[in-house]
Symmetry: C2
Subunit: 115 residues, 2 copies
């Protein structure tokens, strides 16, 4: 018939992922830890985009805004084969809703000299 063969054009619309946020080749994910884990350290199993699990051990005090960067666990770079972005893990800390007077007194004696 009279139709002209044309290049196919695909439009790829990226859906927002529930866990991962993309910035260029870097991925950012948010992880929630308890106050206990934030203060005394923790080992987390993090599910990666490719289905793998990564173990992440944090020994630091996880302060508000704490981010740890796992190099090479982001998205593959489309221009440079084998190169990948980084994975940034951002921590949110869940505080206990209520502490007893006894707990408060003990926390006071432990933390009073820390800054």
């Amino acid at each position: 018939m009279g139709s002209v063969p044309a290049d196919l054009t695909f439009v790829i619309v990226e859906k927002e992922h529930e866990v991962f946020k993309r910035e260029g080749d870097d991925l950012e994910m948010a992880v929630e830890v308890s106050l206990l884990e934030a203060l005394t350290g923790c080992e987390l199993s993090v599910a990666l985009l490719d289905g793998d699990n990564m173990s992440l051990r944090i020994e630091d005090v996880i302060h508000p805004g704490y981010v740890t960067v796992v190099q090479g666990k982001g998205m593959p770079n489309l221009k440079e084969k084998g190169k990948r972005g980084d994975l940034r893990v951002r921590f949110r800390t869940k505080f206990p809703q209520h502490l007893t007077d006894e707990q408060r007194a003990e926390i006071h004696s432990i933390l009073q000299d820390s800054s």
Copy 2:
């Protein structure tokens, strides 16, 4: 001379305040407390825009994102005389940078059953 009397026009450009952020008639300020204060309660003296100081006592656990609203301590409403917006005090918690193994062990025994 031949000049025409004209209305004076003032352009008021609001400068961003270091401590207060304005949203309509409401003001928002950020206050930093230590982890100890966030967990065991605190009494703060907050300097208001008009030069007054306000005492603020918090008994709750101050979790990340904790905001307390002080009604009527915001900006005066220009249309309704005597009416004022609210002051929202948003808390940031400063964690200790380092805890000793002994502190960690004690925190563990205090917080292990709290959620």
